[in-house]
């Protein structure tokens, strides 16, 4: 059974005073995410990422299509007990303290009364908010609110976690903590579906990614599948303080940094270069086929559509 099955889910908003003008936010989206997968949903602002998440959460009704989470229709109330959701730039009841807020959410999620306080304490510990657990949320910084958001999303031990731009607005330390948390969730066997436009995060974390633009799916697959080897180049790193003279005649783009040389060579020259390094007794550090980056793939997918008509957020 798939964790998430999105079956031609579509959303058109009606805008204007009389709600007469249609505005396409999402065009017949079809996606399947397997259990235990970390899935990245990529796209620029206004691409349809948040609309997709809102549809999956039942916050907006679809115009057409449906979706299933863990085999249950998204309007089945039982689904909600199995999912966790962190909205983009979350805002919480700021009259509550973090402990009160998490307790409230634990109550709504059906966490048994006996387990509630222990579960809340464990979550506060996990996101590093024990010290400020008794402070009203109106006094929290953006990073702290994001941590509260993450805590509330996983508080009830959901099987599928949806995160909308979880790294948005965080400092490097905060981003690292979120990345670690997603990796922990993966190791616990949970399915994580997160939207982002920070490609390095997606590249580092995701088993698969999908790119969406103007409400339309542009591509989906494992990062390695989507980023084929680029122009037959190989990156070679070896120990040397300068580029050996035997290599200078080769078509090599080299950069010397301390006692290391980082060079890009054509794949067909790989054997010849290795032979030179062996002959000169130079220590090889690594040899890696150069792949097109996710960013290049992303930019390529978005480029033809730039002049097209926009979709909603």
């Amino acid at each position: 059974m798939a964790a998430i099955e999105i079956l031609d889910l579509e959303k058109t908003y009606r805008i204007g005073f009389w709600h007469s003008r249609p505005k396409l936010a999402l065009r017949a989206l079809r996606l399947t995410i397997e259990q235990g997968e970390v899935f990245g949903f990529l796209g620029p602002n206004g691409a349809g990422k948040t609309t997709t998440l809102k549809l999956l959460m039942g916050l907006v009704p679809p115009t057409a299509g449906t979706a299933r989470i863990l085999g249950m229709e998204i309007d089945d109330p039982r689904v909600k007990a199995q999912i966790g959701f962190l909205p983009e730039q979350p805002y919480f009841y700021d009259h509550l303290t973090a402990r009160e807020l998490l307790t409230y959410y634990a109550q709504l999620s059906g966490v048994p009364a006996k387990e509630r306080s222990a579960r809340v304490a464990a979550m506060l510990e996990r996101v590093g908010l024990v010290e400020s657990a008794g402070m009203q949320l109106r006094k929290y910084s953006k990073g702290m609110l994001q941590r509260v958001g993450l805590a509330q999303a996983i508080l009830h031990n959901p099987k599928v976690v949806f995160l909308d731009e979880p790294m948005s607005g965080l400092d490097p330390m905060g981003r690292r903590e979120v990345r670690e948390l997603i990796q922990q969730l993966r190791s616990e066997g949970k399915t994580v579906f997160f939207s982002t436009h920070i490609l390095s995060d997606a590249e580092a974390l995701c088993d698969r990614v999908a790119v969406i633009h103007h409400g339309e799916l542009q591509g989906v697959g494992a990062v390695a599948e989507l980023t084929p080897q680029s122009q037959g180049k190989v990156e070679i790193i070896f120990c040397a303080t300068s580029v050996p003279s035997a290599l200078i005649s080769s078509r090599i783009e080299a950069r010397v940094s301390g006692d290391m040389v980082n060079a890009l060579i054509q794949q067909e020259e790989q054997e010849a270069v290795l032979e030179i390094l062996r002959r000169e007794r130079i220590r090889l550090i690594s040899l890696t086929p150069v792949r097109c980056s996710l960013e290049e793939y992303y930019v390529e997918k978005l480029r033809p559509k730039e002049s097209g008509k926009g979709a909603g957020a």
């Binding site: 908003y13 809102k54 959460m57 039942g58 916050l59 907006v60 009704p61 109330p77 039982r78 909600k80 007990a81 999912i83 966790g84 959701f85 909205p87 979350p90 805002y91 919480f92 009841y93 009259h95 509550l96 409230y104 959410y105 109550q107 709504l108 999620s109 059906g110 958001g149 509330q152 009830h156 949806f162």
Partner: protein
């Protein structure tokens, strides 16, 4: 009652109690009661009448203001601030959320009315030096004021389920003002004939009959209140609130949360 409704209601109550505006209104209502005492002292032989009239009117007006101004934001504020997202992505149905919000606000108003009522009775004790049997209708008047709050809360919630807070406040206040004159409205309807008469009759009966809940003058004169009136007013308030809340639920159920 579903436990989720109770949790939403308690959170709504807690939010209102932690809101400083609410504390100010209670303090202001108590101040009005103190003013009533002063008026009572300068009036001759009508201290009791003045204190009950002023006190209960203050309780009613301050409660209605709280009901309208908190009621209109119950749903719209949650949508605007997106606090609703993390609630509705849990096993909470939309109707449970709306009903929980309603109970939370009415609970707040009951507690608020309780404290204001203490103020009224203390003022009464101060001017009359003792309680008497003729003071009992004051309790009935307070009960009717709470019923009035139920209907105002339900209306505010109904309007806020599809309209902006300002428009919701306007609609609710307008209905409260017209409903407070519903006896006169029904009188006009009886006098009108033909299509105009029919339309006015429909309007007169659709508009909530707030004048039925106003027995402040009767209570001030110590006139008894019949059990029949208590029963019918209770039934009317429950029915009207249920219809308004059902309308709010129906609209909110289909609403896109942008």
């Amino acid at each position: 009652m579903s436990s989720r409704i109770a949790f939403v209601a308690f959170n709504t109550f807690r939010e209102a109690v932690r809101d400083r505006v609410l504390y100010n209104l209670i303090a202001f209502a108590l101040l009005i009661s103190a003013a009533a005492i002063l008026v009572g002292e300068i009036s001759i032989d009508v201290e009791r009448l003045v204190v009950i009239n002023l006190g209960l009117t203050a309780v009613s007006l301050f409660g209605v203001v709280i009901a309208i101004f908190i009621g209109i934001g119950l749903v719209s504020k949650e949508i605007d601030k997106k606090t609703l997202y993390t609630v509705l992505s849990r096993p909470v149905r939309r109707w449970e959320f709306v009903v929980g919000k309603f109970f939370g606000l009415t609970g707040t108003l009951v507690v608020n009315t309780f404290f204001m009522a203490i103020g009224v009775f203390l003022a009464l004790l101060y001017v009359a030096r003792h309680f008497e049997k003729a003071d009992l209708p004051v309790l009935a008047a307070l009960y009717f004021i709470v019923l009035e709050f139920l209907v105002v809360c339900a209306l505010a919630l109904f309007f806020s389920s599809f309209s902006t807070p300002i428009m919701s406040a306007l609609f609710t206040f307008a209905l409260f003002a017209v409903g407070s004159l519903s006896d006169e409205l029904r009188g006009f309807a009886r006098m009108a004939t033909g299509l105009k008469g029919a339309l006015m009759t429909v309007c007169a009966y659709v508009v909530p009959n707030f004048s039925a809940f106003n027995i402040i003058n009767q209570a001030a004169h110590g006139d008894g209140v019949s059990g029949r009136l208590i029963f019918y007013n209770t039934l009317y308030a429950l029915l009207y609130s249920t219809i308004a809340i059902s309308g709010a639920v129906l609209i909110f159920q289909r609403r896109n949360l942008k």
